[in-house]
């Protein structure tokens, strides 16, 4: 028991030091930014016609404190305007919801594909190259098509909403790591374990539930985390692409459009998008905590 508590204090001490160093890392980045801004040439460092270090004007590199204080100020001079940070948080929450839906679709599709490919070698050979290739198609190329086709879907009381197009596009990025990770995971059981199931005369489904899925967890979790980050990226891009209102993608281009007169403002949604991605990936890490008994061999991976 004392061993357990000692373990815990040791881990919490380690965690605290990790956080501390992380903060130091960010502060170091801030320091580098400001130092370069203070001492770097206004037009950046140009070598052989190539600008290898950025310009240091306020337009190109706003002061970090300007970015921070800008967050606290209202978005516009309009009397009803909310503070910038609140606008970003609200937009981020919208996007998070859409990304979550995209992630779920990606999860279902990814696992479905992985199951098929695990079950039939021919399916693996036939599909896997295309799945890999699918990710080289720029999202933006088909975002309008998805929106257009989606708006045609109307089944009974169900009517396709624009946010669903965005979620669907997000799922296009999310499914990929999930399919690959799940396939690897489902194929991961050692021969000794598959043969054990065979000696128990266990069928496909019991082998799946008792062996393959549990064994896949250590592969699946990082895949799901990547999938979550991808879902957020996909949702943001799709928002920009299809012009969906309310999300972070929308304010991202809106504020980018105002960056000439208000350079610090444009950074707000960038930080919002990063925090959003981290939150999404972090939530999956939480899932990993729940499944920790399935990750007992993870060190070995």
């Amino acid at each position: 028991m004392s061993r357990g508590s000692r373990d815990r204090t040791a881990t919490s001490r380690r965690r605290a030091s990790a956080w501390l160093w992380g903060v130091i890392g960010i502060l170091a980045l801030v320091a580098v930014w400001e130092a370069y801004k203070a001492f770097g040439p206004a037009d950046g460092v140009v070598i052989g016609g190539l600008r290898v270090l950025p310009r240091t004007t306020d337009l190109a590199m706003p002061h970090v404190w300007d970015m921070v204080t800008r967050m606290a100020e209202p978005v516009t001079r309009s009397p009803q305007a909310l503070p910038l940070w609140l606008v970003i948080v609200l937009a981020a929450l919208t996007t998070l919801g859409i990304a979550a839906a995209g992630w779920l679709v990606g999860l279902v599709v990814g696992i479905g594909l992985a199951l098929g490919m695990q079950r039939w070698k021919l399916a693996e050979w036939g599909l896997l190259p295309w799945i890999v290739l699918s990710q080289t198609v720029p999202l933006i190329a088909f975002a309008p098509v998805v929106k257009s086709w989606g708006s045609r879907v109307e089944i009974g009381a169900f009517e396709w909403q624009d946010w669903m197009s965005v979620a669907l596009i997000a799922s296009y990025l999310a499914f990929f790591p999930i399919a690959i990770g799940a396939l690897k995971g489902l194929q991961s059981p050692d021969r000794i374990h598959t043969e054990l199931m065979q000696t128990y005369a266990a069928g496909y489904w019991s082998t799946l539930t008792k062996l393959r899925f549990p064994a896949a967890v250590p592969y699946l979790l990082p895949a799901l985390r990547l999938g979550a980050a991808n879902a957020v990226i996909g949702a943001v891009v799709a928002e920009v692409s299809t012009g969906l209102q309310g999300g972070i993608g929308r304010i991202l281009i809106q504020f980018a459009g105002q960056a000439s007169g208000d350079p610090a403002k444009a950074w707000g949604p960038i930080f919002g998008a990063i925090v959003l991605g981290l939150v999404a990936a972090g939530s999956v890490a939480l899932l990993g905590q729940i499944l920790k008994n399935y990750r007992r061999t993870e060190e070995a991976l």
Binding site: D190, I192, H193, E195, L196, M197, Q198, T199, Y200, A201, A202, S206, K210, L211, P214, A215, V217, N293, Y294, R295, R296, T297
Partner: protein, 281 residues
């Protein structure tokens, strides 16, 4: 398979004229050739032989994890496949092969769960088995919290879960250090005595084979054949057939060393000459 089949039911395992070849990139490998072997109910038979002689292959054929190229295998009078479907045997491998995400109890319960044993009955049986292998206090631990010997005991408990009349064990103690191994051997002797199951046991260790078995089947290298079957005549009452009481004292007895020598010589094919073997794979 003419009149042998008539009496097949008498045997726990009957291997008749079995050949097994594998197709590999570099040609066909004959792993087993003309194997004849019977194991009586309750009998403890060890397979010993150099690496690659086909011990595991033979065991896998009996377990219906693979099919013979020719010849027939019957387990309690049934085909190997039927025996597998009927769960006539329990099996344990060199690695314990526990599922790392299941507790000790969960691992032992696995076959029971798969075969729909009700949860109360399952709990009782698991408790019984845990007691048998002396791990009652470890029911809720996970495999990675156990030593190698303990893991192997869990695997053995698991193989016994459904009270099989036949136990197949492929080098189950291969990964253990010698002291733990001796302890495990003693336990296996006790357990197999208690359950009365026939055991087919693959090992590389001559003392282990001698200590455990009623008969030791010595196999020759590729193509694997049965080179010799050595009956163990051990202990105080050296009366052929019946198993002598096997305890640690036996290991220091003269008859033990004699049997070790007998198996050694069978293995080397002749009274041993000085060897400088250049191994070829």
């Amino acid at each position: 398979m003419t009149d042998a089949a008539v009496n097949a039911a008498e045997y726990a395992v009957e291997v008749a004229a079995v050949d097994k070849t594998f197709d590999t990139r570099s040609g066909t490998v004959t792993a087993l050739e003309g194997i004849h072997l019977t194991v009586a109910p309750g009998e403890f038979v060890s397979l010993i032989g150099p690496s690659g002689c086909g011990k595991s292959t033979l065991m896998r054929l009996v377990a219906d994890l693979d099919e013979p190229t020719s010849g027939a295998i019957r387990v309690f009078g049934k085909t190997a496949k039927q025996a597998r479907l009927d769960q006539e045997y329990g099996i344990a491998f060199q690695q314990a092969g526990l599922l790392p995400w299941r507790t000790v109890a969960g691992n032992i319960a696995l076959p029971l769960e798969l075969h729909g044993v009700a949860s109360a009955a399952r709990r009782d049986r698991v408790a019984e088995l845990l007691d048998m292998v002396g791990l009652s206090d470890f029911a809720d631990r996970f495999p990675d919290q156990l030593s190698g010997g303990m893991q192997q005991r869990v695997a053995i408990a698991r193989s016994l879960a459904e009270r099989p009349r036949l136990l197949l064990m492929d080098e189950p103690f291969g990964a253990l250090d010698e002291m733990t191994r001796e302890k495990m051997q003693a336990e296996l002797v006790r357990i197999s005595g208690e359950t009365g199951a026939a055991v087919v046991f693959v090992t590389h260790s001559i003392p282990e084979a001698v200590f455990l078995s009623d008969r030791v089947v010595v196999m020759s290298p590729r193509p694997g054949r049965v080179a010799q079957v050595v009956d163990m005549r051990l202990g105080a009452d050296v009366s052929g057939g019946a198993r002598a009481s096997r305890d640690d004292a036996l290991r220091e007895e003269r008859s033990f060393f004699e049997m070790v020598t007998a198996v050694r010589e069978a293995l080397h094919g002749a009274p041993v000459a000085g060897a400088r073997g250049v191994e070829t794979r």
